[in-house]
Symmetry: none
Subunit: 424 residues, 2 copies
């Protein structure tokens, strides 16, 4: 199979995908990851844990694509038959790989197993002539071999294992194998939070129609709006073949867009506003303490998702029950009764309490009605109060969020971090 | 295509599915909806907005299935080419349908449109001999016709429109057309945590080979292992036509499997162990407080993911920095220095401190090394200590978890909840 640019086919294996018990997020993830590399997916197959179905789909895929990614069915159990089915299809006998065996033994011993589970032996078997792709997050490695000038790759179905292999060994292999046949695509992400997609689109379209310079710069790139519960990312894409040209047009586009979105924009390589918050705290040499009610630990969880958070985060108090707001955060029982837990007064006292009790420079507090129950006419579901205290200064704000419990909690945690970042 | 039971194939159309900009939830939804009717999906195809790709996939699907569901590409815009591609493939000329035209006109007038958008005219075109399936939620109807004793159905890709048509006209059509050939599928999920997939498989395979009663009961059903970071679900499936028989064989299989997995099993309709923990606390009338270090709020976050958690959860202290372990949880500074934060002594004091300070019956504590940094020879990355205190009784355990920071935290939070559940 040849052509100017490489084309890929994806074969997803698993009865749970056919029965719909699992949504096939792997295929979407691979589609995006390949598109970023400039490899287009031309078709996808979903098959059950059946030898003939797997072989039929893989055989068809290899005849129409330069790259075939097969995901799922590499686990240690009986219903994991992809390895054998594919090895037999291409008449590549399976051979036990000594390095893998040793690695797997170590892994299990590290895990405190005396004896090595027989069932895992299948995971060290490698089709003749196949390259082993390291799995940083599990026991089943990726396997790759060339067949009729098509690269055939087997990946485990567990998302984080599939991601780990793709971003590691497989990326390197694809560069080496298809490097000259990838249609270059250059992306840049601008992150915003606290503004709806429709409002952003409106502002940008107004600028395009009213400002010809803005319009011509934007015409060099394509713009995608990627909204989720935490905010809206703008993805600028240049398809210019020269990397320098691409960088130049992305720079120009970013500069123009910034005039419209600066208010809501934050800078984070990871895309996570926690990165910006953490950087700001470090730069200012400030320590943070958090008091959460409705978000129930989501803010502190996010703050500690990234290693090294400890350098600027001391800890938090999850004051889910009002009694804890009083006992652990010194919130006034009288104010609680008078103004209620979801109020500006209580938010401030929570932030002060966290900062004082845990010994930090900055205190951040979130208290609200996550729903589905607990809403009133005065305080509807989605109403959330935020407070930040820093050197005696107090900042507060309240937002009425839309959506179900998860959405309200996710949006509230993000808004709390955004408010903290702006205060800093 | 014939056979005892009807088999379906799904063809999903749309570039956005191949590029991964949209996750293919329609295929999963159709898979579940068909499984409930007793129609098994035997394979799925995903193709882009390309005439030849659509025709190729549909043609293959019709040769292997009794029912072919095609979703996407029925909209009014240029890239919606499914209707034409499929009509041409089976040489069924498109004819404008008067009823549909009238209905669409009314709809647009109802929406306040003076003139009727030309672009929508394609949506009233019906392949010769096709049945029109009413779309309660949009303008593009479903279309169905028989081809070589296979039922071919086209559905719009907008989820709520696809759902509406399936649950309405299409369900009726399927009953009528395949009623006698639907094989009901009965599933049951058994949830386990704290044991690797390979170990479960080993135990069950041993029981099968050593215990003929066990083996014969298991032979009536099929068994699938569904692992993730939180544990391994066992899915037992019976395809017996009689619901009573199916229930009986699922009961027998569950009973036998329970002899092997009881130690690690928990019961939760949602599949989330938090449900079991919450139920146990309510039954015992106990209130819980949590102290977290390495999990940084993940345990409390999970406890509050579900509404009504407040009835048995007072709150938590996220003692990320050691100073907070002392100031907010009364951990002894001397023990911290002597044994370190990741130790049995400190875990117990954290659990006691949370319970005392926040005023609860039960205290749960987690302290460990999430990594990537912070590991030592004595205390490697992944080492986590857990403690539960309840009426003066103390339970502790420590586990060395594998994986990256996210994995260690996710597994540690799950293990903490599992330990709490077992103590209760």
């Amino acid at each position: 199979m040849t052509g100017e640019f490489a084309r890929a086919a994806i074969v997803s294996v698993g009865n749970e995908l056919l029965f719909g018990e699992t949504v096939n997020t792997n295929a979407a993830w691979l589609g995006r990851a390949l598109a970023e590399k400039g490899i287009a997916v031309s078709c996808g197959y979903t098959v059950g844990d059946s030898r003939t179905s797997i072989q039929d789909a893989v055989w068809r895929a290899t005849r129409s694509a330069d790259l075939v990614l097969i995901s799922g069915g590499l686990g240690p159990t009986e219903d994991d038959i992809t390895r054998n089915a594919v090895a037999d299809l291409f008449e590549r006998p399976l051979q036990s790989n000594e390095k893998l065996l040793a690695k797997l033994r170590d892994r299990f011993h590290a895990h405190g197993y005396r004896e090595f589970p027989e069932t895992n032996l299948s995971q060290v078997e490698v089709p003749e002539g196949a390259i082993v792709l390291d799995n940083p997050n599990g026991t089943a490695p990726g396997l790759a071999f060339e067949e009729d000038s098509t690269l055939v790759v087997m990946l485990p179905g567990v998302p984080r294992e599939l991601h780990g292999i793709f971003l590691g060994d497989l990326s390197a292999l694809l560069e080496e194998w298809l490097g000259d046949r990838m249609a270059p695509v250059h992306h840049r992400m601008l992150h915003t939070t606290g503004v709806p997609e429709s409002r952003l689109a409106e502002l940008i379209e107004e600028a395009i129609s009213s400002d010809s310079a803005f319009a011509s710069v934007l015409s060099e790139v394509s713009l995608a709006y990627l909204p989720d519960l935490r905010g809206v990312d703008l993805r600028i894409t240049s398809r210019s073949v020269s990397t320098e040209e691409a960088k130049a047009s992305l720079d120009r586009a970013e500069e123009e867009l910034d005039t419209q979105i600066a208010r809501w924009r934050y800078h984070a390589i990871s895309g996570d506003i926690v990165e910006s918050v953490s950087d700001a705290l470090k730069d200012l040499g400030l320590m943070l303490a958090v008091a959460e009610s409705c978000t129930g630990g989501l803010v502190t969880k996010r703050l500690t998702d990234h290693p090294g958070a400890s350098t600027s985060f001391v800890g938090g108090v999850i004051a889910y029950d009002d009694s804890v707001k009083v006992s652990a955060l010194d919130v006034s029982q009288q104010d609680l009764s008078q103004f209620g837990a979801v109020s500006e007064v209580v938010a401030i006292q929570m932030a002060l309490g966290a900062s004082k009790r845990l010994g930090s420079d900055v205190g951040l507090a979130v208290t609200g009605v996550a729903g589905p129950g607990g809403g009133t006419k005065e305080k509807p579901v989605g109403r959330v109060w935020f407070a930040v205290v820093l050197n005696g200064e107090e900042r507060t704000c309240s937002v009425d969020f839309l959506g179900d419990r998860d959405a309200v909690r996710e949006r509230a945690a993000q808004a709390a971090l955004a408010m903290l970042l702006r205060t800093l």
